[in-house]
Amino acid sequence: MSSVWHALADPWSQQIMRRAFAEVVLLGVAGGALGCWIVVHNLSYSAESLAHALLPGLVLAALLGLPLLLGGAAGIVVAALAVALAGRAPEVGRDTAVAVVITGLFGLGVLLALSPATPPGLQGLLFGDVLGVADGDLLLSAALAAIVLAALWVLHGRLLIVGFDRLSAGGLGVGATFVDAALLGLLALALLVAVQGLGNLLVVAVLIAPAASARRLCRRMAPMIALSIAIAVASGLGGLYLSYYAKTAAGASIAAVLVVAYLAIGLERGVRESWLRRAAATG
C-alpha cells in the first residue's frame, strides 16, 4: 500500500512535474468544458483544422524569435481568412476548400520548420512541451480556464438554442452568427494557449476526446460538461504518470490515455447496447 502511495507521490517532489500537473489540470478544465460545445455543435473538424493551420504562424514566430503566442494568433487569423475566402470558391465544396487550405498551411509550417535556420524545437511545436511550462504559462492557462468557464456560463442558453436548431434561433431572440463567432473565438483562444503545452498535433485530443466520451454517457448538457472535465483532468494526470514511469513523451502519453478512455467507454457502451438488444429480442 505504502509503495503505491509512494509511486503516486514521487513525481510531485519535482518542481517540473508539479507545474506540469497544474498545467494539465487547467487545460483539462478549459478544454473539457469547451470541447462539449465543440462536439454538440459539430465543430470537431473545424477545431482540428484551426489547430493545424496555425502551425506556420508558430514556426515563423520561432524563426523570428517572437513570442509563440503572437505567431499563433497571427496564424489563426490568416487561417480563418483563408478558410473564409476558400469557402466562397463556387466550384469547390466547402469541406474540400477547407481541407486544401488547412493541408497547405500545415505543409507550409512543416516546410518552414525543416529549414536550416529553424532553432531546434520543432518537436516542441508539434507535440508540445508540457514539462517545460514556466510560471507565466501557468498564469496564462489559469486565465484561459477562467475566461472559458465564465463565457460558457453566460452563453449557456444561447449555445443550447443555436446547437439545437439554428434556424429557429432568430425567432427566440438569439443571433446565431454572434453565438458561432463567440464559440469560434473561444476555440481559437483555447488552441492558442493550449498549443504551447500540448503541441499542434495533440491539442485537439484534449478538446475532442473527453467531450466525445462524455457524450456517450450523458443525456444532458450539464453532467456532460462535468464528466468531460473530469475525464480530461484525469487523463492529463494519468498521462503524466505514464510518461514519468514509462519514460514516454508527456504530450503523447496524455493523448494516448484520452483515446484509450474514449475507446473503453465506446466499447462498454457497444457491449451493453448489444446485450440490451439481445435481452429485448429474447425476452
Binding site: G157, L160, F164, G171, L172, R220, M221
Partner: protein, 268 residues
C-alpha cells in the same frame, strides 16, 4: 372588442374574429438575392384567429414565415408584426440526439426576455413547467426531447413559444407525420391558444383540416387567395394553388380535396 370590421374578409366563421390586427402584410414581395419567391401578399392576422397557409412545397410558405419574423427584408410592400412572435418549426429539423430535456427546450423561450448575462432561474423554470402543463406534458418535463413522440415534440415547441409569451405563433406543418390521436390533441391545443387571443399562422397540406379554421391563405409563388375557408376553398383556387391537378376524394359528406401530385421540392 373593437367595432366590427366591415370588409368582406371579416365575415368570420363564428370565432372571435374581431380582435386587434397582430400581423398585417400589404403588397408584400419577398425573395432572396433580389429574386422574388413570393409576390402580391396582402392579409391581416387578428388576435384569436387560426389562419391556414396552403401551398405546394417551394410555394413560399417558409419564406413568408421568415418575412413575418423580420429575418428577411421585403423586396416590395411591407409586413407589420409584433415583437413577440414564436416559431414552431418542423421537428425533423431539431436534432433528436441533442442532450436536452423537454424542460430545457421550453426554457429556451425565456432567453430573449432576460438580460444577456442572466441565466434562467427559478421563476423561468416555473414558467416553463407551467407551459409544459398547458400543452399536457407536465409529466414529461424531464424526458429527453428526442425520446418523445412526434406529437409530443410539437407540443414541447408550442410550450417554448408560450414561455416566450408569443402573441403570434407561426407553425410550420405541425401536423405532418402525426397519427390521428396526436393530430386531434394538437388541433385542440391550437383551438385553445386561439381562444386565449393568440393569433396562429399554420402552414398545412391538409385542405380538409383548414376548413375548420378562421381564414385560409393560398400561396403558389404569389398570393392566390385569402379569406374565410368557404369562400376561398373553391376548385379554381385549389387548382391555381397546387398547379392544376386536383382530385376530389369520395369521402362521406366532407369535401376532401387533395393535390394530385405531392412531390418534395426544396424549400426556398
Amino acid at each position: 372588442m373593437p367595432e366590427p370590421a366591415t370588409s368582406s374578409a371579416d365575415r368570420g366563421a363564428g370565432e372571435p374574429n374581431g380582435g386587434p390586427v397582430l400581423v398585417r402584410a400589404v403588397g408584400l414581395a419577398i425573395g432572396y438575392g433580389g429574386r422574388a419567391v413570393l409576390t402580391d401578399v396582402s392579409f391581416e392576422l387578428r388576435a384569436g384567429q387560426r389562419v391556414g397557409v396552403l401551398g405546394p412545397n417551394g410555394g413560399g410558405k417558409t419564406t413568408l414565415f421568415r418575412a413575418v419574423l423580420g429575418e428577411i427584408e421585403p423586396l416590395a410592400g411591407r409586413v407589420e408584426s409584433p415583437q413577440r412572435c414564436g416559431v414552431v418549426p418542423q421537428t425533423e429539423r431539431s436534432r433528436l440526439d441533442f442532450p436536452v430535456s423537454a424542460l430545457d427546450v421550453a426554457l429556451m423561450g425565456a432567453v430573449s426576455g432576460s438580460p444577456w448575462w442572466r441565466r434562467p432561474g427559478r421563476a423561468e423554470r416555473g414558467r416553463a413547467r407551467d407551459a409544459l402543463a398547458a400543452v399536457g406534458l407536465a409529466d414529461r418535463a424531464d424526458t429527453t426531447f428526442g425520446d418523445l413522440s412526434g406529437g409530443q415534440r410539437q407540443r414541447v415547441l408550442v410550450a417554448r413559444a408560450l414561455v416566450q409569451d408569443a402573441h403570434v405563433i407561426l407553425l410550420d406543418e405541425p401536423f405532418s407525420g402525426l397519427d390521428a390521436t396526436s393530430t386531434e390533441r394538437l388541433e385542440g391545443l391550437l383551438a385553445r391558444l386561439a381562444a386565449e387571443g393568440r393569433a396562429l399562422l399554420v402552414a398545412s397540406h391538409d385542405v380538409e383540416q383548414v376548413q375548420g379554421w378562421d381564414r385560409v391563405l393560398c400561396l403558389n409563388g404569389r398570393q392566390i387567395a385569402y379569406g374565410p375557408p368557404p369562400e376561398v376553398l373553391t376548385r379554381d383556387v385549389l387548382e391555381a394553388t397546387y398547379g392544376g391537378a386536383i382530385v376530389e376524394l369520395p369521402c362521406g359528406g366532407g369535401r376532401g380535396v387533395l393535390p394530385a401530385h405531392h412531390h418534395h421540392h426544396d424549400h426556398g
